[in-house]
């Protein structure tokens, strides 16, 4: 089974802090994604990466950056956390190519106070 692991399930951070959300997948997938989930808005794509050191902006990249130094690891960075970034963050991965099944981690609940 594909396993996508998000290291932190629940985090509470202060406004202005730098926040790292880490994600690791064990299936040698080329593509990795960060989505944000908010009630009534579904999942919105923040960033995705299709190869090591490669990244592309999704629909809501403002206030976020990402890092992919190794194929299995994809990090989401909030340079200066704000209260409107309180949300559920979902990491996912998929094999190369468009339209492939995406496999999700269990999510990281981030509260910014």
């Amino acid at each position: 089974d594909v396993k996508v692991t998000q290291s932190s399930r629940y985090l509470v951070k202060r406004t202005g802090e730098k926040v790292f959300l880490e994600c690791v997948q064990d299936m040698d997938h080329e593509n990795m994604f960060w989505y944000r989930q908010d009630p009534g808005l579904g999942l919105r794509l923040i960033y995705f990466s299709y190869d090591v050191k490669m990244k592309e902006k999704g629909d809501i990249p403002e206030g976020y950056s990402v890092s992919r130094e190794k194929k299995e690891r994809f990090s989401l960075i909030l340079e200066s956390a704000s209260t409107n970034q309180t949300s559920m963050y979902l990491c996912a991965s998929s094999p190369q190519g468009g339209g492939n099944t995406i496999y999700f981690g269990e999510g990281s609940w981030l509260t910014v106070v």
Partner: protein
């Protein structure tokens, strides 16, 4: 650009009753279509997917979905709902060339009454 609409935010059904969750997509050609389920506090699990071929797709947990090109729909169905089906359901589309990410609908929350 591709988009997905799930018109029902919240649905309540009785245990044992049939279920249909609606999904409409917007895309010019034949898309890849998915249904995912999310239990409270968990990530998303794939229920089923449509790429091509037979328009009636069978998935896990007794779910099925039918692709109707003329209606731009991909509705999810189950003939008899169990209490454990209570969850949030997301329809997603993947289509634009080069866009490996899926576009998700806003979700439908299913409540099951005993």
């Amino acid at each position: 650009a591709q988009s997905v609409t799930q018109p029902d935010i919240h649905i309540t059904v009785s245990e044992g009753a049939s279920l249909e969750l609606r999904c409409n997509y917007s895309y010019g050609a034949t898309p890849y279509l998915f249904w995912y389920v999310q239990s409270p506090g968990q990530g998303l699990q794939l229920l089923l997917k449509y790429f091509s071929g037979d328009t009636l797709v069978q998935g896990i947990k007794g779910f099925e979905a039918e692709f109707k090109r003329s209606q731009s729909s991909f509705n999810l169905r189950k003939p008899s709902v169990h209490w454990s089906d209570a969850a949030e359901y997301f329809c997603a589309v993947g289509a634009d060339p080069g866009r490996r990410a899926l576009t998700f609908g806003s979700g439908t929350r299913l409540q099951v009454q005993p």
